[in-house]
């Protein structure tokens, strides 16, 4: 049994990794039509879901999700739910792996072919995801603890930068009075989607104290959300932000580290984001394999390798199609919409199981 902090690391990881692609672009595409209010609403919705979810999950401390659901839901329903989650988590991992490869290709080594990079990372990720859940969590802890100071430095740099005009931020803030849209809420909800990883790691975590910890989670979430929305706007301006595909990389490329031997913050940010993204993809891959296991489809050595090679082949087959960022974007926005629905379904299912167990 591990401390509950690993659960919050998962939450944090999911938020941080969303800086690299899609979510910023999607969110800023609605900056004149209420993406800010949607983000705020998403924060409230996810906090509500987190508290609901955690309270139910706490009753099943030390049980896997299949154990939780057995007896309540029909085996067929369980299996299909797990399979859907397998596809969702694997899809998220793949999308991030691809976009992350392309970012490395663009910013770090433009001379290497991106296909080769992708292959190397894919092999690394697939083998790392075969590790035990506990080892994954330990890896995660190291990565997140390394990342947190750099996040704080970034926020400080932003706050102390004399070139940031408050008017830019205020202008963006005045658009909060628009009505939220479902698409944006789904994007915002994905930022805080890390709590769903508890489905996989529940066996290894002690039960949490949601009432005590939620205010802290909420405040940190709000701060991160504000930083997430306003830092790029401060550097690029509200009108200029949409011409850019890698909003965060351009914004960090505009940051100067005044008293340090590296002058560009981008270099630091790239290195840190590298570790974070790989970790996220590993967690995704690991979760998808775990969902297969829960669905009883991953028993024995041989089948495991069949699945792994299947994933390998599938990823390589999808790579040329997903290379285009426009296709990835449309796919990802569809993916976000579906993901939120499934998350709500999952929370309801767990709620259902908890209700059933109560009288007994």
């Amino acid at each position: 049994m591990l401390q509950i902090r690993y659960y919050y690391f998962l939450l944090y990881l999911n938020f941080i990794v969303c800086m690299i692609e899609f979510t910023p672009k999607l969110i800023y595409s609605g900056r004149y039509t209420g993406s800010l209010s949607s983000l705020m609403l998403a924060l409230f919705v996810t906090c509500l879901m987190i508290i609901l979810f955690e309270r139910q999950m706490n009753r099943f401390s030390g049980q896997s999700i299949a154990q939780i659901m057995s007896g309540t839901l029909a085996r067929f329903v369980q299996k299909s739910l797990f399979l859907c989650y397998f596809v969702l988590t694997y899809g998220a991992g793949l999308i991030f792996l691809i976009s992350y490869t392309q970012i490395i290709h663009r910013f770090i080594c433009p001379d290497m072919s991106s296909g080769l990079l992708f292959a190397v990372f894919l092999v690394l990720v697939l083998f790392a995801s075969l590790l035990a859940s506990k080892s994954i969590l330990f890896m995660l802890e190291i990565i997140v603890i390394f990342q947190i100071p750099f996040m704080m430095i970034m926020i400080l740099l932003f706050l102390l930068d004399s070139n940031i005009q408050v008017d830019f931020l205020l202008e963006a803030a005045t658009y909060i009075r628009h009505w939220p849209a479902y698409q944006m809420i789904a994007a915002g909800a994905f930022l805080f989607n890390g709590y769903m990883s508890r489905l996989v790691f529940n066996e290894h975590l002690v039960s949490s104290k949601p009432k005590k910890q939620l205010p802290v989670v909420f405040i940190i979430g709000l701060l991160l959300l504000l930083a997430y929305y306003f830092i790029p706007i401060g550097y690029l301006g509200l009108a200029g932000i949409d011409s850019d595909n890698d909003v965060w990389f351009t914004a960090t490329n505009s940051m100067r580290l005044p008293h340090f031997f590296i002058e560009r913050y981008l270099v630091v940010f790239l290195m840190i984001q590298l570790g974070v993204s790989l970790m996220f993809v590993i967690v995704c891959c690991h979760s998808s394999l775990q969902f297969l296991k829960q669905a009883n489809l991953l028993n024995g050595g041989k089948i495991k390798w069949i699945w792994v090679s299947l994933l390998l082949v599938l990823s390589c087959a999808l790579w040329p199609y997903m290379g285009e960022s426009a296709i990835r974007n449309s796919f990802f926005s569809w993916f976000l919409n579906v993901k939120l629905v499934f998350d709500i379904l999952m929370v309801l299912a767990v709620l259902c199981c908890a209700r059933r167990i109560k009288p007994a």
Partner: protein, 350 residues
């Protein structure tokens, strides 16, 4: 495992040529648009013998990317743009259009967004060719000149690439770029060029630039010459800052400026007597009057040119909830905008 991948990507450092500044002039060749100039540091990778020797490559082309491609063909090494610290536009290019070039550099991933922009007079080539007596790395002279300008220069403030880009895209906030002039074998950076989104419109004189810097960024250590009935004095301003408020009433709009400055050392410029408290009082009053008059003149000049480097339009939008046609309504308000300037000048004991 990541280290070899993220390292030098199979290109050794002695196979790379580090570009330290890029200059863009308009081409003298017919039907070519630009002339792109690269200043390449000849450093060998040994920090002890970096030296300020440089190499210049120039090419005529129709687009910047085409020019950079042609330049690549002129070099045996890989041109590395990650260390570009200064982007210079020749005056002629600046008078045509620089927004496309800024956009190109902004979207190019290997160019730093903290590179400084400058307008080169008479052109970028002359300036890049300039070799100061002492320089750490080729091109670092420009960079440090801009870097220092934030605290030291009373005339200009440096504009990094990202700032230029957001000023071009944001309506109601106009671009300003310091002018670097090559006069009598020396560099002079004491003027600000005002842009209307795309092209250079006005070059401010150096004393107007001083005032604009005061309004936008505040000043440190600047000198005022004051004539009073007791004689002529020169007062050093230690610190000055400015702030403004917009008030939009019924059809009438007014901007209230409040400028606070602190004077320190007074230099007598003729044989007038000892500086007494009374003289200090009159000097303060005189400074306030003079500044108020000049600032008002500058603001009216900006308004009449239709330029908005102070960002009144942005301020207006950031304080309004209704966004349906505010850009339009602002462009109706700005020509009618009235100004009120209040200056507080205090001379310290010394």
């Amino acid at each position: 495992m990541l280290m070899p991948l993220s390292g030098c990507a199979f290109e050794d450092i002695d196979r790379r040529a580090f570009v330290t500044s890029i200059g863009i002039d308009s081409s003298e060749v017919k039907d070519k648009k630009y002339s792109v100039i690269l200043k390449i540091s000849m450093s060998k990778g040994d920090p002890k013998v970096i030296g300020s020797d440089f190499l210049m490559l120039q090419v005529n082309c129709n687009s910047i990317s085409e020019g950079l491609d042609l330049l690549r063909a002129m070099s045996d090494k890989k041109l590395e743009y990650g260390h570009v610290k200064v982007l210079l536009f020749g005056e002629e290019v600046a008078r045509k259009d620089i927004s496309l070039a800024v956009d190109y550099f902004m979207r190019r991933p290997d160019i730093q967004k903290i590179a400084y922009l400058g307008v080169g007079k008479p052109n970028a080539y002359e300036l890049l060719r300039f070799k100061p007596k002492e320089e750490a790395v080729a091109g670092s002279y420009f960079f440090y000149a801009f870097e220092r300008s934030r605290m030291q220069s009373p005339f200009v403030y440096a504009v990094p690439l990202y700032d230029a880009s957001r000023r071009i895209t944001t309506p109601g906030l106009d671009l300003t770029i310091p002018v670097m002039a090559y006069v009598h074998d020396d560099l002079q950076i004491n003027q600000i060029a005002l842009f209307d989104k795309k092209k250079l419109k006005v070059e401010l004189a150096s004393d107007e630039s001083k005032l604009l810097k005061l309004l936008i960024a505040g000043v440190h250590n600047d000198t005022l010459t004051l004539k009073t009935k007791d004689g002529v004095f020169s007062v050093t301003t230690e610190d000055g800052e400015s702030d403004y408020k917009l008030a939009i009433g019924q059809g009438k709009a007014k901007a209230f400026f409040s400028i606070k400055m602190k004077g320190a050392l007074i230099e007598r410029m003729d044989d007038s007597g000892v500086i007494t408290e009374d003289i200090k009082k009159t000097l303060e009053q005189k400074a306030e009057e003079q500044l108020q008059k000049n600032v008002l003149q500058l603001l009216i000049k900006l308004k009449e040119e239709g330029l908005d480097p102070l960002g009144f339009g942005l301020r207006y939008r950031s304080r309004h909830w209704d966004h349906s046609n505010e850009v339009k309504s602002w462009s109706a308000i700005y020509p009618e905008l009235e100004f009120q300037v209040k200056v507080q000048y205090k001379i310290k004991e010394n």
